[in-house]
């Protein structure tokens, strides 16, 4: 036991000896657990960025320190973040898949003099938790709002909304209902389903009975989407022409193969599709595929991480490698660049990413299922954000 303690002590001491030119970035994400796929995508995005840009900025070498946070657990998030800052000596924090985890880490940023770049957590108010939070992913409001316009353009008047009953689901419902009613549409019903619903047939029966022309749905990316889309088809809604509309979480690329033909024609709005046609994305997909090892597993968190690394690199350039969170955050306000997802910029007011939102249709091309972009909503901010 004492030898164990000594080894640990030695490890701690050796890790706290600062090399003048090594800059550590702490990344907290779900690397195991139910969302392990998304954590793996964080890592793929980071590795892709390092492969393309190298791991040095000016004279400084970047080192990534990973910490696993398998589920939403604020107290563990706070402990891991604190450990990264005070024990590992990280100068930047990245990652954070779930909102409560990012919220728990936010209060210590200012005292720790560390900026946080959120790679995923998508609740609008998160950026208000600390002036040192920058976000390179999306918000559910941002991705859901354009769908209201899509529905109206396609001549849909009556819609039922069906969402998973938790924060992001409620955000999606609010965003869509606000946009759709403002555009003169009618919401015939709004249903919320418990998170662990597995048989969606009764929900489909409700959709049928509601007389809606289309259904707007939100479910988190992952297993539940399979049962939902399958029930939608098997209960005859697809054949009856009840269009399924959703933010892109419902059709993330790794799930598409499992959804199969059932998903064909599904319309989603989202900030990123792996099939996006641009030289930047081609380079990104190539590098990220090498990093993740299996092309089918590549998904949207990877691009959040990739752009997050870009933002952190700009912060490092601006501070010359010194630990200065205020300068670093100030330097990236208003920053604009061409991301794999298209042109993006950091809104100086709320430090959230402004980006194109694409309407995509699930299609089968060249032997694989893809989200095919068919319409672009340019320069979308976050409609869900309110100044604190």
């Amino acid at each position: 036991m004492s030898r164990l303690v000594l080894t640990m002590l030695a490890l701690m001491l050796s890790s706290s000896v600062a090399f003048a030119d090594t800059i550590k970035i702490g990344v907290v994400g779900p690397f195991s657990g139910p969302a392990a796929l998304q954590g793996r995508n964080f890592q793929a995005g980071i590795d892709a960025w390092l492969a393309v840009n190298g791991n040095t900025i000016d004279d400084d070498t970047i080192e990534i320190v990973y910490r696993d946070l398998p589920a939403a657990d604020p107290s563990q998030s706070a402990a891991l973040t604190q450990e990264l800052i005070v024990s590992e000596g990280v100068q930047y924090l990245g990652g954070y898949y779930y909102t409560p985890d990012a919220l728990a880490a936010a209060p210590i940023l200012e005292e720790g003099n560390v900026p946080m770049v959120v790679f995923n957590a998508a609740t609008s108010a998160l950026v208000n938790a600390s002036p040192f939070v920058v976000r390179t992913s999306f918000t559910t409001w941002q991705t859901s709002t354009p769908m209201a316009a899509v529905a109206r353009e396609r001549g849909i008047d009556k819609i039922i909304t069906v969402v998973s009953d938790y924060g992001p689901g409620v955000d999606a419902e609010n965003a869509f209902v606000t946009g759709f009613t403002a555009a003169g549409g009618q919401i015939v019903e709004s249903l919320r389903m418990p998170m662990n619903t597995n048989d969606f047939s009764p929900i489909m029966q409700r959709i049928k009975d509601s007389g809606a022309e289309a259904v707007f749905a939100f479910l988190p990316a992952g297993p539940a989407t399979l049962g939902f889309v399958q029930a939608y088809v098997e209960n005859g809604l697809k054949d009856a022409g009840v269009q399924l509309l959703a933010p892109g979480d419902l059709a993330q690329e790794p799930d598409l193969a499992a959804l199969g033909d059932n998903a064909l024609g599904l319309l989603t709005t989202f900030h990123y599709a792996v099939s996006h046609d641009s030289p930047e994305n081609a380079a990104f997909v190539k590098a990220a595929t090498t990093a993740i090892g299996n092309a089918e597993q590549l998904s949207f968190p990877a691009v959040g991480a990739y752009d997050g690394m870009y933002v952190i690199s700009k912060m490092i350039e601006a501070t010359g490698g010194k630990q200065d969170a205020a300068t670093a955050v100030e330097a990236v306000k208003g920053l604009s660049w061409i991301s794999p997802r298209g042109p993006v910029s950091i809104n100086p007011e709320n430090r959230h990413i402004t980006q194109n939102i694409y309407l995509r249709e699930v299609a089968f091309e060249d032997g694989e299922y893809i989200n095919k972009e068919i319409q672009t909503f340019e320069n979308q901010g976050d409609p869900g954000w309110k100044a604190p």
């Binding site: 604020p74 450990e83 909102t99 924060g167």
Partner: protein, 325 residues
């Protein structure tokens, strides 16, 4: 003679408290950068100690004990975030009270079952509480978590700092106080009665003792202890999430208790420390595949230390003593 037998446990308690305080001081200086983790462990210890009271001492099987932990965390958090009650000691008191109420209420349901059905009732209770907290998102923040908890400095002087020193010291003092209180309770006639109920409820009832009322009372006490843990977690983390009210947390607490050794206060504390610390270290070394190693640890413990870590340590101790007469 009688004075000696009464005095001995008090002396033992003093020694135990001194040892625990000593360990805390050593940890404080040995791992000054891991205090948030240690505070999290102490909050979990309070939950596992509480579980020990109902499971280890009173024989109530439960996989839903996070109900009382979450009740304390949310009560303290809501009072701080929505009503401006930010004094940490007041928040602890609110947590304990909420935990006690939640404990007494949930026991009314859980005590209706035995063995397996009791487990299922406890799962139903924690699931209902989890759903309710998710639904009442104006109060609890739902799945986004309850944020905006800003505890004021302890005694108006000691700020809750980045290193977590204040939170850790407060947690240690709290743990020691609870430990002493629980030692007294489990030795009291009331505690003995609970153990009797665990061994043979029918016989205790035949002796004329109120089984049901006794267990409800124990549940309320256990609820207060876990509620303190929840409130401590809310103060130290400044955010309360739905995980504090989940089946997963309940199951983890049970695993920690059995790992350490049920029916012993030291078992509850050692099990928590060993499990969380091990998990933290292993997951830092390999963030991707650590779960397998934790699983192997649990299997190994069952195979080689079926009475938990404390049981194993005692067995080794006994053997050493026998070896040197």
């Amino acid at each position: 003679m009688s004075t000696v037998s009464k005095a001995r446990p008090v002396v033992q308690d003093m020694i135990a408290v001194l040892i625990l305080a000593g360990i805390a001081v050593v940890l404080f200086f040995l791992f000054p950068t891991n205090l948030a983790l240690l505070t999290r462990i102490i909050a979990m210890m309070l939950l596992v100690l509480s579980l020990d009271l109902v499971t280890g001492y009173s024989g109530v099987a439960t996989l839903g004990h996070a109900t009382v932990f979450g009740a304390g965390a949310y009560a303290a958090g809501i009072f701080a975030a929505k009503f401006g009650v930010t004094d940490p000691l007041l928040m602890l008191a609110i947590g304990a009270l909420a935990g006690a109420i939640a404990g007494a209420l949930s026991s009314l349901v859980i005590l209706r079952g035995h063995g397996l059905s009791q487990l299922v009732l406890s799962i139903a209770v924690v699931s209902l509480a989890h759903e309710a907290a998710n639904k009442l998102s104006q109060w609890t923040g739902g799945s986004d978590g309850l944020s905006g908890i800003l505890p004021s400095p302890l005694f108006g002087v000691f700020r809750f700092d980045l290193f977590g020193r204040t939170a850790f010291i407060m947690a240690v003092v709290l743990l020691l106080a609870v430990f002493v209180g629980l030692r007294i309770i489990v030795r009291s006639p009331f505690g003995m009665l609970c153990r009797g109920i665990k061994q043979d409820p029918v016989r205790v009832r035949a002796m004329g003792a109120p089984v049901y009322a006794t267990l409800v009372k124990m549940y309320a006490i256990a609820g207060a202890v876990a509620g303190l843990g929840g409130a401590l977690s809310a103060i130290a983390t400044k955010v309360v999430g739905l995980d504090s009210l989940s089946f997963t947390t309940s199951a983890e607490a049970l695993v920690m208790l059995v790992l350490g050794g049920a029916g012993r206060l030291f078992g509850a504390m050692l099990g928590t420390l060993a499990f969380v610390w091990f998990e933290d270290r292993v997951s830092a070394i390999n963030p991707f595949h650590w779960l397998t190693i934790v699983g192997v640890l649990l299997v190994v413990v069952v195979l080689f230390a079926p009475k938990g870590l404390v049981g194993a340590i005692e067995a080794i101790w006994q053997r050493l003593r026998r070896a040197r007469p």
